[in-house]
């Protein structure tokens, strides 16, 4: 029997592929037979991801997706896609009272506006094939829970979930499926950045609040992305999938 979870013969675009969940997703997709298009800002780190990929025929398209010009250039070079995983994102901690407009615009640009506008361009240029699968990496923050100072970040992640519902409807006629994944805390460079504010002790306290007693690994999220990209999830669209080691259970 043919493996329904295989990504053999599929072209998958992964944004934010230079680190964290994006890199993990790219690696897992390649393991499952996909040809992966790696998008990210840092050429060196993208090349590192490329070197970790199984198989051949992968492509690196380096550039800052916050730039409209870069998005155009990248989409022009894009092969027809069977899947897209929007992983690129940044985090930010600022309380509501001290909200700074520039920072807020910055996080909305990277986490929301850029993936939505890239997606728009991919559709316009007919780079997303019939029966493709689109995934947005959201978060438990925003839709499921929050913590102080996480309002801006949570708002961007909730925005993705809201957008995905409409996109799922708009693309359903072409058999294109759209889903979101909502991870809890995953061990990534993003976490190391917030570690500057949190501290190792607080991180350990937070880790113990996860019933499975650990933070996620990039592959915990990547394997869910593989499932959503594969034909095995052919009847799933508009879903929000929670992967959080049980964190939101209590």
């Amino acid at each position: 029997m043919e493996n329904p979870f295989s990504l053999e013969g599929k072209f998958i675009l992964v944004t934010g592929a230079s680190s964290g969940i994006g890199r993990g997703t790219a690696i897992a997709c390649a393991q499952m037979g996909a040809k992966v298009v790696l998008s990210g800002r840092n050429e060196t780190r993208l090349q590192e991801t490329l070197a970790s990929l199984a198989g051949e025929g992968h492509l690196v398209l380096c550039g800052d997706l916050n730039s409209e010009e870069t998005r155009k250039e990248i989409v022009d070079k894009m092969p027809p896609l069977n899947g897209v995983v929007y992983c690129a994102g940044i985090s930010q901690i600022q309380t509501a009272k001290f909200m700074d407009q520039l920072s807020l615009e910055g996080i909305f640009q990277t986490n929301v506006f850029s993936p939505l506008m890239l997606n728009s361009l991919l559709l316009k240029k007919k780079k997303i094939q019939k029966n493709a699968s689109i995934i947005f990496i959201s978060s438990i923050s925003g839709v499921y829970r929050s913590q102080v100072g996480e309002g801006g970040y949570g708002a961007t992640k909730a925005a993705l979930a809201g957008f995905a519902k409409s996109l799922a409807l708009e693309l359903s006629a072409q058999g294109i499926r759209v889903n979101t994944i909502h991870p809890g805390v995953v061990e990534t460079p993003l976490l190391e950045v917030s570690n500057g504010t949190l501290g190792e002790e607080e991180l350990e306290t937070l880790r113990q609040k996860y019933p499975l007693k650990r933070f996620g690994k990039p592959q915990d999220i990547a394997y869910c992305a593989v499932y959503l990209l594969s034909d095995a999830s052919g009847w799933m669209t508009g879903s929000n999938i929670l992967i959080d080691g049980g964190f939101t259970l209590k």
């Binding site: 901690i93 309380t95 009272k97 001290f98 102080v148 500057g196 504010t197 949190l198 002790e201």
Partner: protein, 75 residues
């Protein structure tokens, strides 16, 4: 910003604790209202007034408001 001004600004970030309770030698971590929200407010306050970034580790390393003020000066 002087130490006195910093103590006043520090006090303003607290809604429940009376402003009179804040002195340069106040051990802020012992205040009932001290927590993640007030800590983040102090981080933001420091950025806004000194243009300097302090971390959770800095806040844990200091005891009094004056300790923190002095640490900010070294940044």
């Amino acid at each position: 910003m002087t130490l006195d001004e910093f103590v006043t600004a520090f006090a303003e970030e607290f809604d429940e604790t009376p402003a009179e309770q804040f002195k340069a030698d106040t051990v802020y971590k012992e205040l009932d209202e001290w927590g993640s929200l007030t800590a983040l407010s102090i981080v933001a306050l420091t950025m806004e007034n000194f243009g300097k970034k302090i971390t959770g580790a800095d806040l844990r390393a200091c005891n009094t408001i004056e300790d923190l003020f002095n640490l900010i000066q070294t940044k």
